[in-house]
């Protein structure tokens, strides 16, 4: 008789840990991985279809399909057939007649139009009074956000140039994390200006070179008007204020101060102030529907969306010693194919006993080293569960790899791959582990707090609905990035468009000193910089031109580069009084990146596409 007890299990249950070490601004960016990750909740939150198309509600023009508006159709020419003297066409390229080619000014204009279209969509999302966009995916999922990078990411842009703009915003997101809308608006403005210059017959590369010179002037100018500001672990006020500037444009702005404080505290908890390095991976952002935004809290420890494996296990453990296991509570299985031949009843009994002994041994091992809590990456079957309960050893099962690692870091424990390796030194320590239930729902979460090493924290977000939580997560991510950037480089510039206006004035003044065609381009750059304060004013319901000119003249008259747009109607233009800051590196990056991409777009004079698709 061949009998396989639990001993023979298919190998597929041994799922590989599949964690991705990145703090994504949006959960929807979850990469589709070939290996399943076993957390059912996870699957529901992240439907596999990820592309969304821009919903009509966003009011922008559709960028799907052939690209930048109608002008494109006009300029399209079928890939020209070549004719020889005898009037015979000859075909050089494969499927030549199916390719379209745009050349020269025509191509540049079409590209600029596409770039502008993208910028136009984001324009209304800029600033504290910016509006949100609702994006609907083909299977009905809805995202509401005003984060530039997220909007573009989800829009499923088809046009090549528009894709460049998407990447532009993504790259700002990667590097800085904030200012993703501003960078696209700036690039759009630069493209708009270059269109005028192209019409005057200025060579596109001269324009690009002029822009580059101007961007360097602006970069230097930002350095000049920036201010160092001091903070320390005890004085976090300046950091909090900068983060609140970021949050002020988000939907969570009513709680911006609290959230900013949470973000700053979290970053400081994981920051290595000497090396000025912050590993954002150590900050876990967890959200749960229900409660109010006000209930959002920072937990110095880890929250796991799991509960004890047995309902009767204790809900609160003090001075917990945690065994962190990556091996299942079941009889070990060799990887080699194996069979146990059982031909007598005795043998069967032995096998049975042996299996039981395994369970016994395992639990005993944990007990022996002094563990008071077991956290396991895999599941364990009822027999083990019962035994654990019986021996009074609380346990948590199916904890994902990323969480497991965070728990290990936080509690100072080691991940143990085998029961034989369990030693008292490898246990993690936490002051308190408790299970907390929320409201009337049966949802419970496990809090692991007062850990041996506090360098792993969790921000726990509550909110009325899932969209709200997702948006809050994105906003918090932006705030975290800003705090991180400040720790790296503590220079700031003032917001509210004041830095842009000041740069614009400086660039304009510098333009006159440059001989050659570039002068025009530099001047155009100055004008493009005005687009950001202009959009801010427009979104705030102010008269854009009146406001901008007033502020500009005030800056020049008072020689005060800190005057910006008073979006919140506080009554003063001085951003120092309003405490609106942005990071210097973020702003510099915006200008450089936008210039870089615009240069790339301007340099294209020939677009060859397979036409009908």
């Amino acid at each position: 008789m061949n009998l396989n007890l639990r001993t023979d299990f298919t190998i597929s249950t041994r799922h590989k840990y599949n964690g991705f070490h990145c703090a994504l601004p949006s959960l929807l960016k979850l990469p589709i991985s070939p290996l399943p990750r076993f957390s059912p909740a996870h699957f529901f939150q992240n439907p596999p279809v990820l592309s969304l198309s821009l919903s009509a509600a966003s009011g922008g023009c559709g960028i799907r399909g052939g690209g930048g508006g109608c002008d494109l159709q006009k300029g399209e020419v079928a890939m020209a057939l070549a004719f020889d003297e005898y009037g015979r066409p000859f075909i050089i390229l494969r499927e030549q007649e199916h390719k379209t080619r745009l050349r020269g000014l025509e191509a540049q204009k079409a590209n600029i139009a596409a770039g502008k279209a993208v910028a136009r969509i984001l324009r209304t999302s800029l600033g504290p009074k910016g509006m949100d966009k609702m994006l609907q995916s083909p299977d009905g999922d809805v995202i509401i956000t005003n984060d530039g990078a997220t909007i573009l990411e989800q829009m499923d842009v088809d046009n090549q140039i528009a894709k460049l703009m998407v990447e532009l915003s993504r790259s700002q997101d990667y590097e800085i994390g904030d200012g993703t809308t501003g960078v696209v608006v700036l690039a759009g403005a630069l493209l708009e200006q270059s269109e005028k210059l192209l019409e005057r017959g200025i060579h596109p590369i001269r324009i690009a070179e002029g822009y580059e010179m101007a961007s360097r002037i602006a970069w230097d100018h930002l350095e000049q008007i920036s201010q160092k500001f001091e903070f320390s672990v005890t004085n976090i006020e300046p950091l909090v204020q900068t983060c609140s500037t970021t949050l002020s444009s988000k939907i969570v702005s009513r709680r911006k101060r609290d959230l900013a404080a949470i973000a700053v505290e979290a970053v400081l908890a994981v920051a290595d102030l000497e090396r000025r390095d912050v590993n954002l991976d150590l900050i876990k952002v967890e959200g749960k529907v229900g409660g109010k935004l006000e209930d959002t809290e920072l937990v110095h420890g880890i929250i796991v969306d799991k509960d004890m494996s047995h309902p009767q296990m204790p809900k609160r453990i003090e001075d917990a010693k945690i065994a962190i296991l990556t091996c299942p509570f079941e009889p070990p299985k060799p990887k080699t194919k194996h069979k146990v031949d059982i031909d007598t009843v005795e043998k069967f009994q032995t096998l049975r006993q042996q299996e039981q002994k395994y369970f016994d041994d395992m639990v005993q091992k944990c007990k022996d080293v002094g563990a008071t809590l077991v956290i396991c990456q895999w599941g364990f079957d009822d027999e083990a569960n019962h035994l654990l309960m019986h021996r009074n050893l609380p346990a948590v099962r199916w904890v994902g790899g990323v969480e497991l690692e965070l728990i290990a870091i936080a509690t100072g424990g080691r991940i143990v791959p085998r029961f034989q390796e369990l030693t008292p030194e490898k246990l993690g320590r936490a002051g308190i582990v408790r299970e907390k239930s929320f409201g009337t729902t049966k949802d419970r979460m496990l809090y692991i707090e007062q850990c041996a090493n506090s360098r792993a924290v969790t921000i726990f977000i509550r909110g009325g609905n899932k969209m709200m939580i997702e948006e809050t997560k994105r906003s918090i991510h932006d705030a975290l990035c800003v705090a991180r950037n400040l720790i790296r480089n503590n220079s700031i510039v003032y917001g509210g468009g004041s830095a842009e206006i000041s740069c614009s004035v400086a660039v304009e003044a510098a333009a006159d000193r440059h001989p050659g065609v570039e002068q025009y381009a530099i001047r155009a750059f100055a004008e493009a910089l005005d687009a950001i304060p202009m959009a801010l004013a427009e979104n705030s319901g102010l008269q854009p031109i009146d406001t901008l000119t007033a502020v500009k003249s005030q800056q020049v008259k008072e020689n005060n580069p800190y005057c910006g747009i008073d979006c919140n109607d506080v009554g003063t233009n001085d951003m120092r009084e309003q405490d609106v800051f942005e990071t210097l590196i973020g702003k510099q990056q915006q200008i450089l990146l936008a210039t870089q991409v615009v240069k790339m777009i301007l340099k294209i004079d020939d677009v060859i596409t397979p036409s009908d698709y």
């Binding site: 060579h203 069979k339 032995t350 340099k603 060859i608």
Partner: protein, 555 residues
């Protein structure tokens, strides 16, 4: 009447397309000119980029002649030759791919009126070959050697060559920055021939200026298992172990089966398996290595084992990266030879974490980490850097340079014209034509920059004719002429020699073809697309079917 009744002789399979004679030569020339026309505008510092979209939806934005030619998917048989010479130029010298196509196009263009007038192609070919020979000798004569200079000086000169190449590219704005980076990289690798020792890693995000050179190896953090974060991320003078095995708990042999009759032995099997892996891990630790890299996976078990012993490990390291680490640290894969370096660190670059090995003892590798706003941007930057690297390598080996900016072309052109006057016979005309074709380079430089080409060329001709202005080329900034040598617009002479050689060869080859026979069978294999090519070409227009016909009607 009788003639009409003559039975038709069918020699070739039906549908075979043959075209021959003068018309065929002219037709081929036209095709090549059309192709050259496509890449024309990418030449020089004011050259524009092309955006090419393929039907799979991927996009390339490039200024590199060879890349564009490759992506155009040319099917015309004669025109394909141009693609080949662009590729060969790319492989041989790495830069000047646009130049070579343009030159070939120009040579053919100048030849066309002669062919139409009934000159025998072989006559032309002979003269072209002579001219080519003369031109190359002249270049060798004019080239300035940079041999024998001090290292510092040489570095400066090499950087000049690199920046000339880079000036036409997207990253032209930062050419000095990248030029010195490229020179440092090439000098670090010194005499080793393997190009793969210079790694280029691309990280989206940031701006170009954030790019940096690592004197050693850098690669992206590999896929990691739980426990990885608990490993130390920084080492001074660590020992590095390179492996090519899987450190994972797994069955040792596929298809093997263990049969037990005694259940008590079960545990021994389990233990045996664990012992195998523990044995391996233990040996790694015993070797004293602080960093373990493997080309194959290091499983969660291994990761945690190493984490426990303060060892850093990375599995699934790409083959070439591992080779580079081996070269840099002096280790060898899968032996007891451990490598070492001064500093190992895991660092955040943009959105990625990078493993960086620097200060390597044998130092034969360099890695350039490129940053930029968009994927296409970085890709184009990589291609540009590749060109620059090739140029610098060639310049190191063949250390002679010639002035760029069309100066050398003008000088050869002048020299050939002068020489032509001493020849009696038809050849005089042909060599003159060749000389005229060489002027395409400065002419195109002007055209792309929007200057009046005729005007500038006349100035250049005058200057070169006086005999003292042999270094004068187009001044791209003012639209006048300037001394290219004094302005440090330099190219390694091997680029020019190879370009002229390849272009002449290609032109001669195309001129020498007077008949194309296209077998219908291979066409069906190539699909309808190629069939469409048939209808158009040559006299065999009888085969007017399929899409070829449609193409005509459209017009």
């Amino acid at each position: 009447m009788a003639a009409m009744l003559q039975p038709q002789i069918i020699l070739l399979k039906e549908g075979t397309d043959t075209s021959q004679g003068k018309a065929q030569v002219v037709s081929n020339i036209n095709a090549c000119m059309a192709v050259a026309d496509v890449v024309r505008t990418t030449l020089g510092p004011r050259g524009m980029d092309k955006l090419i979209h393929d039907d799979k939806g991927s996009t390339t934005i490039s200024n590199d002649g060879a890349t564009i030619m490759k992506l155009l998917d040319i099917v015309h048989p004669a025109a394909k030759i141009l693609v080949d010479i662009a590729k060969s130029q790319d492989a041989e010298v790495g830069d000047g791919t646009t130049t070579v196509v343009l030159l070939a196009g120009a040579f053919l263009k100048e030849a066309k009126p002669f062919i139409e007038d009934g000159v025998h192609p072989q006559n032309l070919i002979r003269s072209y070959r002579t001219a080519c020979h003369l031109a190359i000798n002249k270049i060798k004569e004019l080239a300035v050697s940079i041999e024998g200079k001090s290292m510092e000086e040489k570095k400066k000169l090499l950087a000049k060559c690199a920046s000339t190449t880079l000036s036409s590219k997207l990253i032209g704005g930062e050419k000095e920055f990248f030029a010195s980076m490229v020179v440092d990289a090439v000098i670090a690798v010194s005499n080793d021939d393997r190009l793969s020792l210079i790694g280029i890693k691309k990280v989206p995000g940031g701006n170009m200026r954030d790019s940096f050179l690592v004197n050693g190896v850098a690669f992206k953090k590999t896929f990691s298992y739980a426990g990885f974060e608990q490993q130390p991320k920084k080492f001074q003078n660590p020992k590095i172990l390179l492996l090519n095995i899987e450190l994972e708990l797994k069955s040792e042999k596929e298809n093997a089966e263990v049969r037990l009759s005694d259940p008590a032995q079960y545990q021994s099997i389990v233990d045996a398996e664990w012992n195998i892996i523990y044995d391996k891990l233990d040996k790694c630790v015993q070797s004293g290595a602080k960093i373990v890299l493997s080309r194959l996976a290091i499983g969660d078990l291994g990761t945690q084992y190493f984490a426990d012993r303060d060892i850093f490990c990375a599995g699934r390291v790409a083959e070439e990266d591992l080779q580079r680490v081996a070269a840099a640290t002096g280790g060898a894969v899968q032996t007891s030879v451990l490598g070492s370096c001064e500093l190992f660190e895991e660092k955040q670059v943009g959105n990625e974490r990078f493993n960086i090995f620097s200060g390597c003892p044998s130092g034969h590798t360099a890695t350039i980490v490129l940053r930029g706003g968009a994927d296409q941007f970085i890709e184009e930057a990589e291609r540009s850097l590749h060109d620059a690297i090739m140029i610098v390598r060639r310049a190191v080996k063949n250390s002679t340079v010639v002035p760029g900016g069309g100066a050398i072309d003008m000088e050869i052109s002048r020299y050939l014209r002068q020489h032509a006057r001493t020849i009696a016979g038809k050849s005089q005309l042909f060599i003159n034509a060749y000389a005229k074709a060489l002027e395409i380079i400065p002419r195109q430089l002007c055209d792309n920059a929007g200057f009046d080409a005729t005007d500038v060329l006349n100035k250049l001709r005058q200057k070169h004719a006086t005999g003292e202005g042999l270094n004068y080329g187009v001044d791209i900034n003012t639209g006048g002429i300037a001394d290219s040598f004094a302005n440090f617009v330099w190219e390694p002479s091997v680029v020019k020699i190879n370009a002229i050689n390849a272009a002449t060869e290609a032109a001669c080859l195309i001129l020498s073809v007077d008949e194309t026979v296209k077998n219908p069978k291979s066409e069906s294999a190539q699909g309808e697309a190629a069939a469409s090519a048939m209808g158009g070409r040559g006299r065999g227009g009888a085969a007017f079917h399929g899409r070829g016909g449609r193409g005509m009607r459209r017009r």
